[in-house]
């Protein structure tokens, strides 16, 4: 397959999975400028691994792993991260303001805030849980056992419930 055809296929993949990238980046970066860079970095890392995609894993598992690994590493190396990305004035993935769903926006902002207070690995687990991934998929993506996933999810659910009651 030619490089161009390969690239077109990759862009198509990004188009179909933009939601996953957006949610991961939004969880790890609250600053809009940083988020622009992170989205770019995730896409770069996906492209780097695209040629070696192993189809024994689900495509979503592969994408989550790369997006989460990039977001966690990016989050901790902010001084160096801009070397790899190009400064862009616009967002690659963007969501226009939607005034019709003000109530939803507030609830989502609160949910992101609570998730934002979790540690980096718990954040990953929470996104996977909210995105309705199975325990097996979560275990595959994170590299821990299914039992461990179940225990942690139950603790995180308690934590979130408590936070919402307090708020």
């Amino acid at each position: 397959m030619s490089l161009q055809a390969n690239k077109d296929q990759f862009l198509h993949l990004i188009q179909h999975n933009k939601k996953l990238i957006f949610k991961v980046c939004n969880t790890y970066c609250s600053d809009p400028e940083d988020r622009k860079d992170l989205v770019q970095e995730v896409i770069i890392q996906l492209w780097r691994s695209y040629g070696s995609y192993n189809d024994k894993y689900k495509l979503s598992t592969w994408m989550y792993r790369i997006a989460l690994n990039t977001a966690i590493s990016f989050y901790r190396s902010d001084n160096k991260r801009r070397n790899n990305t190009t400064s862009m004035h616009e967002n690659i993935i963007d969501i226009p303001d939607d005034d019709n769903s003000q109530e939803l926006n507030e609830k989502i902002a609160m949910l992101y805030q609570f998730i934002g207070n979790m540690n980096k690995l718990d954040k990953a687990l929470m996104i996977l849980y909210l995105d309705n991934n199975s325990y097996k998929d979560m275990a595959d993506i994170l590299g821990i056992s299914e039992t461990n996933v179940a225990t942690k999810i139950s603790r995180l659910k308690q934590y979130l419930k408590h936070q919402f009651v307090k708020a």
């Binding site: 590493s73 901790r76 993935i93 939803l104 994170l142």
Partner: protein, 223 residues
Amino acid sequence: MELQELKNIWAEYDRKLDRNLHLNMQLLRQMNFDKVKNKLSKLLFYKVIEMIIFGSAIIYLGRFTVNNWSVPQLSISAIIIGALFMVFFVYDIKQVSIIIQLQMGYSSAVAPIQKKIEQLKLTIVTYVKITLLLFPLYPLLLLLAGKMIFNMDFLDSRHKTYFLSSASLGLVLLILAIWFLRQLNSKNINSTAAKILLTGSGWYQANSAYKFLGEIEKFEQEA
């Protein structure tokens, strides 16, 4: 708020993203994917070069020790420096092995790959700390370099004063290096002296790497 409600909010948000999320294809196409370079490749290159240099130096020092076995000041100096180079060499192997594993990209499971990244950071900082030991050992390097390059003996009567003053300075530097290394522990991390000393040394990065490594291990084990 019930948990089901929480999931409902997320599902509604998901639908909102389906409707509104926009991917700027033009911007995406403008991204220069071909220029993407792996920073790890550069680090791997440097580490391999270091390994070659240290490996050659160890072999050379080994032969030098054998040839000068009867001259204790030279053979002992060569053994000490050789041992230090050996430590560098072992740390290089350790780093190269982690870098090769990381080069497979971010497509491995999250917890193990993050653990490797943190281990690499800690190894790099330990390497820098060991480098500190080279400074107080410079009189030994001077002695060896004098013999190897100029066939000169710094312990003969003409150079003895110069060598002894270097050795005294080396001893002071050794005490300073040991004191400095002792400061590099988590108990002292908040003291003003440690903060001044450690700025730019990579210790803070190592400390946060160590902390995160602990979090990952807890995350992996807690069941």
